[in-house]
Structure formats: C-alpha cells, structure tokens
C-alpha cells in the first residue's frame, strides 16, 4: 500500500482512490462498511452555508447501468458540520476534503471564509456543477463565472482548492482553464450528467443527475481533453467501477480517481482498485506518477 501513497498538489493521499462527494456522507459513516486504508482521503457531501432540506422525494431512479439522483444538497450546513463532525473526522487521521456548494455565491464565500481557518481540513472542493440546485446554468457551465468564483475563493483561503467541473458543457477545457488561471490547485472532473426519467406509475417526469458506469466513456473523454490543456492535476471520476477503469482514467490524465456510485454499491471496490493499480505498477515496473496521462499527451 505504501507504494500508492501520493501527493496531489499539496495533499498527501494514502492512495489515489477517493470517494466522491455526496456518496460518502459526512465522511465517518462508512467506518464499518469500507476499509478506510484503501481510500486516499475523506470527502464530505457538499455543504451549504445554511442547513438545507434538499429536494422532495423521490430522489433516486435506477437505470440498467447507473442511476439518477436529485438529492438537492440536503445537508446540515457548514456550522453544524464544524460543531458535530469535524472533531470526529480529524481523529480518523486521513486527509480531509470538504465539499462546498450552495445556491448563491455569497453563501459559498461565507462557507469558505468560515472553514478557512479550521484545523484538520486539508482542502476545499468547490462544487461548481451541481445541476440540481438551479434550473438554469450553473457556475461550472460558464468559464467567466467559474473564473470569478475561483478568484474570490483563492483570495479567501490558503487551503488547497479543488474546482469540481460539470460535464454538461460544450468545452470542459474552457472551464478548467478558467479555474486554473484563477488559482485552483486541482480539478475534479466530472459531476453528474443532466438527465430525465419518466415514472409511469406517478405519470411524471423527474430531472436529476446521472452517474455510474453508463457515463464512464464520456467522463473519460473529458478528463482526456482536460489533461491536454491544463497544468494542474485532475481527479478523474464518473462511472468508474473497476480497477481497469480506474487505470484507464489515469492513463487519460487523472492524477487520482474518484468513485461515487459504484463504491456505494460495492464497498470493497476501493481495495480492489488499489490492488489492480498496484499489480499494474509491479508488472510494468513503473511508478505511479509516470502512469498519469501515459496514453495521452500534453498539448501546450
């Protein structure tokens, strides 16, 4: 396992395999489900400034090879998180990434400011791309908006800043570059795809975000494109459900991988992915860093 300890920007990760925000609770709830030694860091669900009730149910719809969710960022808010959770998480002795989001920029900035001086938090991931909050364009769908958001965030905190990108864009590189130029340390790509589900019993359309194996080829492509254009490291995620797919993401240009949907369904996936990566490194006698982007090339 030692061999998988890596640095991602300034973050020390026990392994390059991370859970994905929103599928790992506040970070401590899966202690008796997942062996935490195999995950690189803890990542919280997206927190908003104020406690948030989320969307009315139903919130989950199943497909043959993935699912759609419309949780609507239900969470206890940044303050309660600090008061009730941070201490517990700190004691887990893992790198801690806190995901931040919200309906308006001011709230996001308040959250960043509030968390900025709290010990035990190693990085803030800005969820720029949650498609469930606003019906129209989200921050991550617009490079200028993204630039401004990251610029101000950078001013407010010295913590490692991760910009989480949306796949629902014409050109993810534009947005990724904007985040990089504004001072983001790491990109996380991608969030869920906008989808729609028709419920024949309720006779109703439901909108939400699609995740799981069905989005993998699209996510892989986006990480591939990003890697060519940006210089900061990328956490690649979207549909990973095996060690092979994790490696493919890394070949494409990801410096670490995130697993959301499939880690929830198969809690031992993190350990299996670590094993596959280790085996690959041993077999090819390569070190982890040299594998990043090894089937791609920088174009700048």
């Amino acid at each position: 396992m030692k061999k998988l300890q890596i640095k991602l920007s300034k973050l020390k990760l026990d392994t390059p395999v991370l859970p994905a925000s929103g599928t790992f609770g506040y970070g401590d709830e899966l202690i008796d489900i997942i062996d935490y030694q195999y995950i690189g860091a803890i990542i919280t669900k997206t927190l908003t400034w104020k406690e948030n009730a989320g969307n009315p149910p139903p919130r989950i719809w199943e497909f043959q090879n993935g699912l759609m969710n419309s949780i609507g960022l239900q969470n206890i808010g940044v303050r309660r998180f600090y008061e009730e959770k941070l201490e517990i998480l700190r004691n887990l002795n893992k790198t801690l990434i806190v995901s931040i989001g919200g309906k308006n920029q001011d709230d996001i900035f308040k959250s960043i400011e509030f968390l900025s001086n709290k010990k035990g938090i190693d990085a803030l991931e800005l969820n720029l791309s949650c498609p469930n909050i606003e019906t129209n364009k989200t921050i991550a769908e617009n490079p200028d908006f993204t630039f401004k958001m990251l610029k101000e965030a950078r001013r407010l905190t010295n913590k490692v800043l991760i910009a989480k990108l949306s796949p629902n864009v014409t050109d993810i590189c534009e947005v990724g570059l904007a985040a990089e130029q504004a001072g983001a340390d790491i990109l996380s790509a991608v969030n869920t795809f906008k989808g729609l589900y028709y419920d024949w019993n309720r006779e109703k359309m439901y909108a939400g975000g699609v995740s799981g194996p069905m989005i993998f080829p699209m996510a892989l492509r986006m990480v591939f494109e990003l890697y060519r254009k940006v210089s900061i490291p990328i956490i690649g995620l979207g549909g990973i459900n095996s060690g092979q797919k994790a490696l493919e993401m890394i070949f494409s240009g990801a410096s670490a991988v995130g697993i959301g949907t499939s880690l929830v369904i198969m809690p031992d996936l993190a350990s299996r992915v670590c094993q596959v990566i280790l085996d690959y490194l041993n077999k090819t006698r390569k070190n982890f860093y040299s594998v990043i982007g090894s089937r791609n090339e920088k174009k700048h």
């Binding site: 599928t23 609770g25 709830e29 899966l30 009730a53 919130r59 199943e62 929830v264 031992d268």
Partner: protein
C-alpha cells in the same frame, strides 16, 4: 464490517411468487426485528433491501415476493451460491414492557419483518395478537409464523381465506373490542397510512416499517427520505421503523 459474502443455505418458493431463503449468519451483531439486509442480486444495478424475517446463530431468514429483476434473480439462486450483503442495517421495532397489549399488523409481504417480531415476542413471552391480510389465499404466508399461544386473525381481499376484509377493517373492529397499547406494522404504503391515521385518531402508539427505493441503504446518500415532522428522514438509517405520529402521511 457489515459487508459480507454469505452462502445461500436453503430456499423454498411458494406459489411461484414468494420465497423463503436462508443464508449463513455471518453478522457481527445480533439482528433486531425491523432491521434489513441490502443485497446485491446481480439482477439489477442497485442493491435491494429485504427485511430480516428470522434469525438463529447459524442462519438468517429472508422472505420476499418476486417483483422485478432483483427479486427474480435472488429467487433463482441455488444453495451454496455466495451473495453479497450489507447488514444488519437500519433501526428496529422498539422494546416493550411485558404487560402491554400488542397488535402485530401485517399486509401482504409486510409479513416478512413481522415474522421476526413474532419470533421475538414468543421467545420473550409477550402476549400479542396478529392481524394479517393479503389479497388472496395464495398470497398468505401464515404457515411461516411461529407456533405459539397468540391470537391470529387472517383476512383476504377476496375472502378466499379468513375473513373477507382488509386488514385495516379488521383492525378497526378489533380496536373497538379491545384497544391495544402498541401496534407494530408493515405492509404497503396505503395500508400503513390508513393505520397511521387511525392510530393517531385513536391515540394508539404504532410503529410502522416503511419502504422506499434505496441506493446506499447506509444513510450516506440521502436518497431514501420520507417527510416527517422532523423534516426529511432516511428510511434506511433513521428508519425503516417510524412512529406513526412522526410520518407526514400524504
């Protein structure tokens, strides 16, 4: 760890539609009535939640209806196959005092968790009454109930066995005769709602086991919430057992 691979030990199929299945008990803790397992069936993308319907140190019982791809695949498993489960998950029916008058009310496949409750009460020597309704004779699984000295009232929608009535109609009549202190119930949402409203009116404590589509089953995705007076609550973690007054029935 609550994540286990366990062997199927035996299986019975009733009327081609209902399955009683036993698998190895490899749980780290003793399961309580009301708790469930979240099973990777292989037939569908997500796991499927199924109530624990009985327990011994050697084996765990589940009882389920074949509905769609997930339960269909489960029903096809042969003995010895390993299945991937998470459990025991969720809260459980509350403990009770000896003297209390207890009704167990089950509708349809809601009998599954009630079987386990009945086991427990027989073991603990509690007295109780079971009201159990199903569509037809062929949907009744009362032969799975433990032997004991309790009262049992069966009903079916078409009168093919027991009384021709819904279990709620039976409950209404029984309450008139003798008001219980507490009710434990499981069944379809519409039935639980009627029961919840009835018990609220009659001022009876009722605990209902709710169902919902579940992704994680572990409390981390917030996918399975129901509206309660405390806000949205997760069926998988805050439930599946809720006090009837907590639920906003609608």
């Amino acid at each position: 760890m609550k994540h286990k691979k366990v062997r199927v030990l035996s299986k019975k199929i009733f009327n081609g539609k209902y399955v009683e299945l036993f698998f190895e008990n490899r749980f780290d803790s003793i399961p309580q009535p009301g708790q469930f397992v979240h099973i990777f069936t292989g037939g569908a993308f997500m796991r499927r939640p199924l109530s624990i319907a009985g327990y011994s140190p050697e084996k765990i019982r589940i009882v389920f209806q074949i509905k769609g791809p997930g339960t269909k695949k489960l029903a096809e498993l042969s003995n010895g196959t390993k299945i991937d489960i998470l459990g025991p998950l969720g809260n459980s029916f509350p403990g009770i005092e000896k003297q209390q008058k207890i009704y167990l009310v089950a509708g349809g496949i809601g009998i599954a968790p009630i079987l386990f409750v009945a086991d427990k009460f027989i073991q603990s020597g509690n007295d109780f009454k079971i009201l159990y309704g199903a569509r037809t004779k062929n949907d009744l699984l009362d032969f799975l109930l433990p032997e004991g000295n309790y009262k049992k009232i069966i009903s079916t929608d078409d009168g093919s066995a027991g009384e021709k009535a819904t279990v709620i109609e039976i409950l209404t009549k029984e309450i008139l005769k003798e008001k219980p202190d507490i009710i434990f119930s499981a069944g379809p949402f519409a039935m639980l709602k009627s029961l919840g409203l009835l018990c609220a009116k009659e001022n009876i404590d009722a605990y209902v086991s709710l169902e919902n589509v579940m992704f994680c089953g572990l409390g981390v995705c917030q996918g399975c919430v129901v509206e309660t007076t405390l806000g949205y609550q997760r069926v998988c973690k805050d439930g599946p057992v809720f006090h009837n007054r907590l639920i906003k029935w609608k």
